[in-house]
């Protein structure tokens, strides 16, 4: 009786908890044993984990070094520049959320919430003993307010904002880098001082932004009729795919200077960017090629029969469909690129993971019972997870949205 009504109205299960337990977990004697054992293990795991999370004193290491975690050895009196860039991103994200609604607004809301929660946390730890970022709580709260303002303003004048916003996003990367590095009127902060989350985000966003067009070009080149272009693309892709990222990073650090004149000195962050980009582009090219090959031949034929030339056919017909088909694969690749940037530690750059190691090996935690490496690594893992999870959820939402009307 109960099951029947449950089947008829699946949204309102009328099955009581005990019935559900008996039907699913304790229906036979061996299932009952397995259930009990698993429940016990789960209880042990969760209670120990929660106990540790709530009682450990090691968080103090993370809190004391919060600035280090976020920006590395970036000079404290210049950190406001990073804050300006974050505030800019918050404003642009907010405006975009207001203009485009849907997925973009969800992203903006999520970002705003994180900023807001961080500001609350920062407020509860004012400058007493610890040394958080200068004026961090106010900056964080301000950014989230800016973001909210952006959503509100963006939705009011959506029509006029679209094109300026797209241009702003395109300009954000160079301008952001310029503000962080300095030069024009601002004191230069050498890239060897960049570190922590800042470095991780700069490396991975550069990798994603730069490797995307490069990868698409390589994929198109590999399908080209011109033998030299095709040969070059195949050789490049197969060479890079045949060696590990660590090797590419080392090559960029050690071999690149050999090929360049003595006067040209490229700093190691740029070299790492180049390495990550070149590496990622080869894999991206193969993914894009897969997408292009999955299209029926008739698509290109129909476009050519209509009189579109080959460039138009590629840009208007085949490439958009191919990219749409490989969104999940692309995002998967971007997620792994984001995490792979932690390998730059071995060429002497101190990214998010590198800074974690710096923090837990500081002398002041030497006498701390059990050390503070668990807490530090836990926080770093949470940060990595937030970014990766956001990317993967967003890709899923984009997929869902695009499949509407597609079938």
């Amino acid at each position: 009786m109960t099951t029947d009504s449950a089947r008829a109205r699946p949204t309102k299960p009328t099955v009581v908890l005990w019935d559900w337990l008996r039907q699913n977990l304790f229906n036979t004697w061996y299932n009952a044993i397995i259930s009990v054992v698993i429940a016990f293990l789960l209880y042990q795991l969760l209670s120990n984990l929660l106990g540790w999370l709530l009682t450990t004193q090691g968080w103090i290491a993370v809190l004391t070094n919060i600035r280090l975690l976020f920006v590395g050895r970036y000079p404290p009196d210049q950190v406001w520049r990073v804050e300006v860039v974050v505030a800019l991103i918050a404003l642009l994200t907010g405006l975009s959320g207001g203009v485009w609604k849907g997925i973009v607004r969800n992203l903006a809301t999520g970002f705003g919430l994180i900023l807001f929660v961080l500001s609350l946390i920062a407020f509860t730890f004012p400058n007493d003993g610890f040394n958080p970022m200068i004026a961090a709580p106010i900056f964080l709260l301000g950014s989230s307010a800016l973001l909210a303002l952006g959503i509100w303003g963006g939705s009011r004048i959506a029509e006029r904002l679209r094109i300026p916003l797209i241009i702003s996003w395109v300009l954000l990367y160079p301008i952001g880098i310029l503000i962080i590095r300095g030069g024009v009127g601002l004191p230069v902060v050498e890239t060897n001082l960049w570190g922590g989350l800042l470095l991780t985000l700069i490396l991975s966003s550069s990798g994603i932004i730069l490797s995307f067009p490069l990868g698409v070009l390589l994929a198109l080149g590999r399908r080209s009729d011109l033998p030299i272009v095709k040969g070059f693309c195949i050789a490049y892709i197969e060479l890079i795919r045949g060696i590990p990222l660590v090797t590419v990073l080392f090559m960029a650090q050690l071999m690149l200077p050999l090929f360049l004149p003595d006067q040209v000195r490229i700093d190691s962050v740029v070299r790492a960017m180049v390495a990550v980009t070149l590496f990622s582009a080869a894999y991206l090219a193969e993914n894009v090629r897969g997408g292009l090959q999955s299209l029926p031949r008739g698509q290109a034929e129909a476009a050519r029969a209509l009189g579109l030339n080959s460039v138009q056919t590629t840009l208007l017909i085949t490439l958009p469909q191919a990219l749409r088909a490989i969104i999940p694969v692309l995002v998967g690749q971007f997620i792994s690129l984001f995490k792979d940037t932690s390998l730059v530690v071995i060429v002497g750059l101190i990214d998010l993971l590198g800074i974690a190691r710096t923090i837990y090996s500081q002398a002041e935690w030497k006498d701390f019972t059990g050390g503070v490496w668990r807490e530090t690594l836990f926080v770093v893992a949470v940060i990595y997870w937030i970014f990766s999870f956001t990317m993967s959820r967003t890709s899923k939402k984009i997929e869902e949205k695009m499949s509407v009307g597609y079938r």
């Binding site: 129909a302 579109l308 208007l316 597609y406």
Partner: protein, 249 residues
């Protein structure tokens, strides 16, 4: 319909040959199509009729012989090929609509990018064409939301939007459910009566009998027999034609 005045031909094919590796797909195909003529090409599968119609807009390359379309000779020069493609519309067996674009965008794409027309102009023209093929209410949908018959009618409208002088149909009804064949054939009949030059590969003999000026029968990559519908249907000359017609009718 059956205009017997001697006009200059719009399509001239002379001794066209094509090989796929060792396989001789087209053997010395020669045909002249007059302006406004409706030619139906039929024959058993594998007879080269689709290959032939696809050589006319260079979706297949021919290796020997000449093809001249509307005074432009088909050479390896991409400009000539593009010029010919602008004059010829093609409708495929598998529709080949662009699934990421709406019906409206499918139709206006080529006029905007190839003919350099304004969006407003092309939209108006697309509306008119959709009315003509009877599905103006589907303009904002995506191809995947339409039935096969509707998709094929959109494909016809898309080809017509370029205002071609010649329409090539490559088995336009073969992938359709039987109940949708008629709606597509009706559109094609209306087109044929409108005076456009049509080359049509099809097995729809009723359609051929009704609107064709000429029927061309192909087998093994060559033209076996051609003539007006009465000739072909009532008194086929060639054994192969007789056999084929007896199987299909």
């Amino acid at each position: 319909m059956a205009d017997q005045t001697n006009q200059e031909p719009i399509i001239i094919c002379e001794g066209v040959n094509k090989w796929y590796g060792e396989f001789h797909a087209l053997r010395d195909v020669s045909i002249r199509v007059r302006r406004g003529e409706v030619v139906v090409i039929c024959g058993p599968s594998g007879s080269g009729k689709s290959t032939f119609i696809r050589t006319i807009n260079r979706l297949e390359e021919h290796q020997q012989g000449t093809i001249i379309v509307d005074g432009i000779e088909m050479t390896n020069d991409i400009r000539n090929i593009d010029a010919i493609r602008r004059e010829t519309g093609m409708v495929f067996q598998q529709f080949n609509l662009f699934p990421h674009l709406t019906v409206m965008q499918n139709i206006t794409l080529a006029p905007i990018w190839v003919r350099k027309k304004t969006r407003k102009e092309s939209d108006a023209k697309a509306k008119e064409l959709l009315e003509r093929v009877g599905i103006v209410e589907q303009a904002q949908k995506f191809p995947g939301q339409l039935s096969g018959g509707q998709q094929q009618r959109v494909a016809i409208a898309r080809a017509l939007a370029m205002e071609p002088r010649i329409m090539l149909f490559d088995e336009p009804t073969s992938a359709l459910d039987p109940e949708m064949v008629k709606e597509v054939l009706d559109v094609m009949k209306e087109l044929a009566r409108g005076g456009i030059t049509m080359l049509c590969v099809t097995h729809e003999m009723g359609f051929a009998r009704e609107v064709a000026d000429r029927i061309v029968f192909m087998d093994h990559g060559q033209i076996v027999e051609e003539g007006n519908p009465e000739q072909i249907f009532s008194a086929p000359q060639h054994e192969r034609t007789k056999l084929f017609l007896s199987q299909i009718l």
